[in-house]
């Protein structure tokens, strides 16, 4: 259960980034979580909601993009999603394939809105 630490790091990154965008407030922060990153998405959402609760960032939404494990064939170069740990190339049958993604734990984007725009003060997380 280290999702609380991860959620805290996401929130710290948002606060650091917001210094660069005066006159705005953050609406949504996007993260990419790989299949092999050992992060439970529901736990991460739960922790994130718990730490923004009753703070100035209560309306901040967390967007999670799930990244499946992808391999590239060392022979034919085909890139494919690995399902059920079957890392054999679906094109040429070669067993020698290299993992190219799937262990992401990255901040992707931050959506900010100008203060004074119509949604200011909205507490909805829709």
């Amino acid at each position: 259960m280290h999702e609380m630490g991860i959620a805290n790091s996401v929130l710290e990154a948002v606060r650091t980034e917001m210094v660069l965008h005066p006159g705005t407030y953050p609406c949504k922060v996007g993260v990419r979580i790989g299949e092999m990153a050992a992060i439970d998405q529901d736990a991460l959402r739960f922790c994130f909601e718990a730490i923004v609760h009753e703070t100035d960032l209560e309306s901040l939404e967390l967007g999670i993009e799930f990244c499946p494990r992808r391999h590239r064939c060392q022979l034919c170069g085909r890139e494919f999603i690995v399902r059920d740990y079957d890392s054999q190339c679906p094109q040429c049958g070669n067993m020698g394939t290299t993992c190219i993604s799937g262990d992401e734990m990255e901040l992707a984007y931050l959506e900010v809105e100008e203060h004074g725009s119509s949604t200011v003060g909205a507490k909805s997380s829709q």
């Binding site: 996401v10 890392s87 901040l107 931050l110």
Partner: protein, 226 residues
């Protein structure tokens, strides 16, 4: 609404400290290994057998992590190498800052090998880079041969799988070949040694793996230093 790209790791602060540690280890020729397993798989026993086989003058130190107690450090201090306990007080993994803090009063130039025993947990430690040269995952034969499939991250990220407690194989329904296959499904080409810390089977293979890692690390360090 504006969308600002962030494009950095969530744990960039931990990764920054880990990168600094890795550079310091490299500079001083220290091989750092991060041992990870569930609680009770035999990390401390493996370290006991390791330390007792190394010559007294060997430049080896151990950091051992647990949520509470100094028990592991007390077990490992008997071998007269520098040992320090990291008690996390609740945190389920070690992070790079804890390593940095606990190394503060050791001189890295006096060390060749730093063994880090992580908190017993197959999940969370896999996310935290400690600046190690390699992760090692320990899986005991009482845990079930499908653990690599259930907890793929740590098997994927570790260089070596140590299958431990093999002396119990006659008494438990553990299919060791299936465990090996499952580990290599998750991590094709993964190196594997099978050991018993009780009757010492397989410890020679483990010590050979360790010696080879130490040997391979040295020229790399010299090249970088020049």
């Amino acid at each position: 609404m504006d969308r600002v790209p962030l494009e950095r790791k969530v744990l960039s602060e931990n990764d920054r400290v880990a990168a600094e540690l890795r550079a310091r280890f490299q500079e001083h020729g220290v091989l750092c290994l991060n041992l990870i397993s569930s609680p009770g798989s035999g990390k401390t026993s493996l370290l006991e057998r390791t330390l007792e086989s190394l010559p007294r003058h060997d430049r080896v130190a151990v950091l051992t992590g647990d949520i509470q107690t100094e028990n592991d450090a007390n077990r490992l201090k008997r071998f007269h190498f520098p040992v320090k306990q990291i008690t996390t007080g609740g945190t389920c993994h070690l992070d790079a800052r804890m390593i940095e803090r606990h190394l503060a009063d050791w001189r890295l130039e006096d060390l060749d090998l730093l063994l880090v025993e992580n908190v017993g947990n197959l999940v969370c430690p896999s996310s935290y880079d400690l600046g190690e040269a390699a992760k090692i995952v320990v899986l005991s034969v009482t845990e079930g041969e499908d653990k690599p499939l259930k907890y793929p991250s740590i098997f994927f990220k570790s260089d070596l799988l140590v299958l431990s407690k093999i002396d119990l194989l006659p008494y438990v329904p553990f299919d060791i070949e299936a465990a090996v296959q499952n580990a290599r499904k998750v991590h094709p080409g993964m190196e594997i040694v099978k050991v018993s810390c009780l009757n010492r089977d397989g410890l020679h293979e483990w010590m050979m793996w360790l010696a080879e890692k130490r040997r391979a690390h040295k020229p790399l360090v010299r090249q970088t230093a020049n």
